[in-house]
C-alpha cells in the first residue's frame, strides 16, 4: 500500500516543482577543492566542478581533503567544510514551501546577506534552525549531536519542541533526541570542528549504549512525523482523485466554465496541499535516511573498529542490540517511503 504512494507523491511534487518562478532556484557551486562528490536525485555520484548546480534533493559529500562553496542567488553563501554531508531539500511549513539546508555530518558555514520571502530552514540530524539575516556555522558530530555558533544576526534553534534563540557570539550544543543545551558565549573562529568532534567521538566510545539510545530517540521523531502525515496524505489523495473524476461529470452537466471554476476553487488547492504532504513525507524519510546512514552507520563503523578484538564486550553487545532494533524499525517505517535512487 505504502509503496504506491511514492510514484503518486513524486508525480504531484514534480508537477509543482516544475514551476520555477514560483519556487526556489538551484544553488551554484562557486568553489570546489579536493574530493567533492555530488549524489544526484537518481542516486548517481559525480565529481563536483565549479559551475555545477545543486538541485533540491541532491547531496554534496566532501572527503577529508575536500571543501566547496555554493551560492544561492545573491542571497546566501554556504561554505562546506571537509568530511561533510550537505543536502539541499525542500519542505512545506505552515502552508509555504521552504528551502532546507541540511548538514548531516561535518560543518557548514552560512552567510545570508538578505532573505527574500520565507527564510530557509537549517537542519542537522538533531536540530532545526530558523535564521534571520545572519552568519553562522553548523557542526554535526559523529554521534548525531549538533553545535551551532552565531557570528551575526539571529538563529532560533529548535529540538524536541524547545527553542533557544542565539544572537551574535553565542552558541549551543544539542544532543540527538534532547532539547537544546545551555547557551554559551563564543568568539568568532574559536570553535574548532575537529576538536569538538573528537570529544563527541570519545564520548561515543566511552558510552556507546547511551549514544545509540539518543540516536533511537531522534529516529523515532522522524518515524512519528511520517506516521502522522500518512493518513492525512491518503485522505487528501483519495479526495483529489474523486474531485478530478467529478470535474468530468461537472463539465458534461454544467459546462466548461463550471469545470474551470471548480478546478480553481477546489481541485488546485487540493493538489497543492496533497503535493506538500507528499513532499513532507519525503522530507522526513530522507532526513531519517541521512541520519541513519551518516550518523548511525558511522557509529557502527567506529565501534566495529574499536571492538574488533573484543566483540563480546558488554557495552558493544548492548550497542549492537539497540542498533539491530533500530535497523528493523527503519526497514518497517522509513524504507517504504524511499526509492532506489535514495540509497
Amino acid at each position: 500500500m505504502k509503496r504506491r504512494i511514492i510514484p503518486a507523491a513524486l508525480f504531484l511534487v514534480l508537477s509543482l516543482v516544475t514551476a520555477p518562478v514560483l519556487f526556489s532556484q538551484d544553488a551554484e557551486v562557486v568553489y570546489a577543492e579536493g574530493e567533492v562528490d555530488l549524489k544526484d536525485k537518481n542516486g548517481e555520484l559525480y565529481w563536483v566542478e565549479i559551475g555545477d548546480y545543486v538541485e533540491t534533493g541532491e547531496t554534496i559529500i566532501t572527503g577529508y581533503d575536500g571543501q566547496a562553496e555554493i551560492e544561492k542567488g545573491d542571497v546566501s553563501v554556504l561554505k562546506i567544510a571537509p568530511n561533510t554531508v550537505f543536502t539541499y531539500m525542500e519542505a512545506e511549513v505552515e502552508g509555504e514551501k521552504r528551502d532546507v539546508f541540511s548538514c548531516a555530518l561535518g560543518s557548514v558555514a552560512f552567510k545570508f546577506s538578505k532573505v527574500i520571502g520565507k527564510e530557509p530552514l537549517i537542519t542537522t540530524g538533531s536540530v532545526v534552525a530558523g535564521v534571520r539575516g545572519t552568519e553562522f556555522t553548523v557542526f554535526a558530530g559523529v554521534d548525531g549531536s549538533s553545535l551551532l555558533v552565531v557570528d551575526s544576526g539571529e538563529v532560533a534553534v529548535t529540538s524536541e519542541g524547545e527553542t533557544v534563540t542565539l544572537v551574535r557570539e553565542e552558541g549551543v550544543e544539542v544532543q540527538p533526541g534532547e532539547p537544546p543545551g545551555e547557551k554559551f558565549k563564543v568568539l568568532r573562529g574559536q570553535v574548532d570542528y575537529s576538536t569538538w568532534n573528537s570529544g563527541r567521538s570519545e564520548e561515543l566510545i566511552a558510552d556507546p549504549v547511551q549514544a545509540v539510545e539518543r540516536v533511537g530517540k531522534r529516529l523515532s521523531f522522524f518515524e512519528e512525523e511520517i506516521a502522522s502525515l500518512l493518513p492525512v496524505f491518503e485522505e487528501h489523495r483519495t479526495r483529489l482523485e474523486q474531485e478530478r473524476k467529478n470535474l468530468e461529470t461537472l463539465e458534461e452537466e454544467q459546462g466548461k466554465d463550471a469545470r474551470v471554476a471548480r478546478y480553481k476553487d477546489v481541485v488546485f488547492p487540493l493538489e497543492v496541499k496533497t503535493s506538500y504532504l507528499a513532499m513532507n513525507i519525503r522530507y522526513y524519510a530522507l532526513s531519517a535516511l541521512s541520519f541513519r546512514r551518516f550518523v548511525l552507520g558511522r557509529m557502527y563503523l567506529l565501534l566495529k573498529g574499536e571492538y574488533l578484538m573484543n566483540p563480546g564486550a558488554p557495552e558493544y553487545r548492548g550497542f549492537l542490540e539497540i542498533y539491530e532494533e533500530l535497523l528493523n524499525r527503519f526497514e518497517r517505517s522509513v524504507t517504504p517511503h524511499l526509492v532506489k535512487a535514495d540509497f
Binding site: G66, G297, R298, L302, L308, M309, P311, F343
Partner: protein, 150 residues
C-alpha cells in the same frame, strides 16, 4: 593480400571491442593476497582497493576516507586472520545481499553498486569466518566492495 587483411582486421576489431569488458576471475591466490594485506596492516593499500561506497557487514559506508580509517583502526588493534582458508568463491546473484543483511537498503546496494561479475568469498580463519565481496583487479589485487565478519 592487403585487401584480404582489411576485413580480417575489421572482424578482429569488432570482436575485440564487443568483448572490451574484461571479466576477471577471482582465484584463491588473489583472495589470499587481500588477506595478506589485512594481516600486514597495510591500511593504505587496503583503502586504495576498497570501493566507495563500501559494504561493511550490513552498513553502506558512503564517506570517502571512512574505510581507510577502519583499516587503520583494524591494524592498530592488531586484527589478523591467521590460518586463512578459502572455503568458497561464489558469483553474486539476486539473493547474495542476504548474506550481509536482510534489509532492502543492502539489496539496493547490490543492485546499484555491485557489478555482475563480482564474487563473494568465504574465508575461514582463526578469528572466525569472514566474507569478502570482490570484483575486478587493480595492480594485482581485486577491488574489495564489502567485508563481513567477526
Amino acid at each position: 593480400m592487403i585487401k584480404k587483411l582489411i576485413p580480417l582486421t575489421l572482424l578482429c576489431l569488432v570482436v575485440f571491442f564487443s568483448c572490451s569488458t574484461v571479466r576477471f576471475v577471482q582465484k584463491e591466490g588473489t583472495v589470499l593476497k587481500v588477506i595478506d594485506l589485512i594481516n600486514s596492516g597495510d591500511a593504505g593499500r587496503l583503502a586504495g582497493i576498497s570501493g566507495s561506497p563500501f559494504l561493511l557487514d550490513g552498513e553502506i559506508i558512503m564517506m570517502p576516507g571512512d574505510m581507510k580509517q577502519f583499516w587503520e583502526k583494524a591494524a592498530e588493534k592488531g586484527f589478523v586472520l591467521t590460518r586463512p582458508e578459502v572455503l568458497g568463491i561464489t558469483p553474486v546473484d539476486g539473493n547474495t545481499y542476504t548474506l550481509f543483511s536482510p534489509y532492502e537498503e543492502v539489496k539496493m546496494f547490490f543492485e546499484k553498486y555491485v557489478p555482475s561479475d563480482a564474487v563473494v568469498v568465504r574465508v575461514s580463519s582463526s578469528a572466525g569466518d569472514v566474507l569478502l565481496l570482490l570484483y575486478g583487479r587493480n595492480e594485482g589485487y581485486p577491488y574489495i566492495l564489502g567485508f563481513k565478519g567477526i
